[in-house]
Amino acid sequence: MTIQFNDESFRDDYTFHNSDWAIKRFPFPFHEDSYMYSVNMEQHKGGPEGSVYEMRFDVDEHYVSEMKDRALVLDQDPLRCQSLPHMTLAGWDLLELIMVSKSEDYPDLFELHRNGNQWRWINKPMGIDHSFTFMDETTLPYGPMEYITRQAQGDFVVLDQRDEMLWMDAGMVTTQADWSLDFDIGMNFFEWHAPVPKAHEMGIFKRALKFLLNIQQGAPARRLNWTMTVNPLLDTSPENYHQWGIQKTTLTPENIGHKQHLRVELQTFFRLPRSNALVFPIRCYLCSFQDLMTAPKWGRRLHRVIRDLPDELATYKGFIDNRPMMLDYLSQFDDGLPTSAGVWPDLETEPPLAK
């Protein structure tokens, strides 16, 4: 399939939009009518054809515009991309992983030609055709991690693994849900997760860390996380809270359907071969409430999940104030009928809204 890339913005006039194709494949994160934190990890070994899980690094219609948005953020704030000196080798590992995966998974969009250490990388959607020497930084315009993550959707955190612990020692973070690489750089797994409510007491982080330390080459894993964003903003960083935080107050019963977005992160985990580091790509998908409501099952379920979510989680995720307005809107799409198990929209089998 060739992808039609949207020309759209994630700021100012917000022309971001999802095609029908993008809505159908949206990674709806709730497999049942309620939600609580859990160690929700599974192998990242493909998925149904066309789904966001199918390829190692999903490329969709937002690719080109997301990369433009990333370049804008980096222009204004270069500290969104940082790599401690010992992480350069991991950067090359990541560059190789992404180039090999994308050229194999999307041969019509990306090509990689390797002759020993002489590599040629062709990125057709972004109009790049670049020859360089693998492992020689002087042949790239940026460091290897920055070079390749300026061409890959989603944030990337690269973790060094030492002493049975993961350390946030490098990253490219411009599409984050209110956390800061500049603040977290050098921290360990427990330190950067400190603000999360409930999960520590539930023992989730201890078990998750043990799982991550044991992720092996050739056996990547994945999980989903989610939050809420008013307006299709990719860059909801603490650094720019003054710009996007106030937009939460612009929500009205009239505009909520197109302004309020469910923000889902497809998080994957790959062991990197030469450095033994771990890379954590965090891919952000946005979908407006009104687009989600086109799947009756998702409408019913989202209402129930948001209604029953513990206050601590709604507060941490930053939508406790807007929750009553969200529920007013969502309740119109909940007729009380049961929902089928699993995350898929099941458009053919789920009954239409009986209301």
């Binding site: 010992h86 060094d160 043990k210 044991n214 092996q216 080459q217 050739g218 056996a219 071969p273 450095s275």
Partner: protein, 320 residues
Amino acid sequence: MSGAEKIQVKVTEITPLNELVTRFRFERIDGGHLPTFSGGAHTVVEMQDGGITRLNPYSLMSSPFDQSSYTISVRRDDQGRGGSLFMHQQVKLGDEMTISYPVNLFSLDLRARKHLFLAGGIGITPFLAQIKQLELLHGHWELHYACRNEGLASYADQLTDRHPNETHLYYDDQDQVIDLKNLLRGQPLGTHVYVCGPKGMIDWVRNTASADGWPEDCVHYEEFLAPQPGKPFEVRLAKSDKVIHVGENESLLEAIEREGVDAPYLCRGGACGQCETVVLDHDGNFVHRDHWLTDEEKAAGKKIMPCVSRFEGKALVLDR
């Protein structure tokens, strides 16, 4: 499925180095590239030994960036349960075998300004790959390698040839001993120490470094643990509702697998923690041999690492 991903390989070279150590070269059956890896990684080699499937970990010693083949060196252990004997006596050129993707539990700390390697005997193998990695990355390192005698000093010649200034050799039969205390004191700030060899040597290095005020996270070690034979014993697997017999020459993990029960593992050497199993009940004594459980956990008798640890007594019930 348990363990790391698998790779089908064939044996393309068997090179005896001395009376105890033989080197094996593996290449992919399909002719493709093997994954790159990081120095210090091991692979788990599957052996079909009569009725028993043995899975033994061996350090990869070839260059981590060489994707055409992997090499390992196997020291024959005449007292062992037979994994190394199988490699020495049964494996022939051209044989097809299954190995795992590389797994690294002994990786370099890439922040180190200098890497100080201390090897005892066959413990040299992970350092061979780490040295190749550091040479490519222009890292700063030094090796102190102790062996029983010159004849058993695998790869000593090649190391002194290529790296005469970095390599230091010590032979037990000539009463040469690493002057550890002074060696550690003379290291520049930012040095990391790595030790691989027999248990006594690892303890000696860790204790000496600790007494000298070295932070724990600057001292790295890998001990070659192979499951040891022991008295046979019976185990009840509560979840699978089975009573199984663990023979003298198999590990508890191997016995569980033989019974068709899928149990997690990675290193099979008591280091990674993957195989940790809850003990529901016991009447007898544990023979804990892993590096994973803390001394308190071992004393509490609520967990066991079935890849290397055993049990002696009347009854053992596991949550598996």
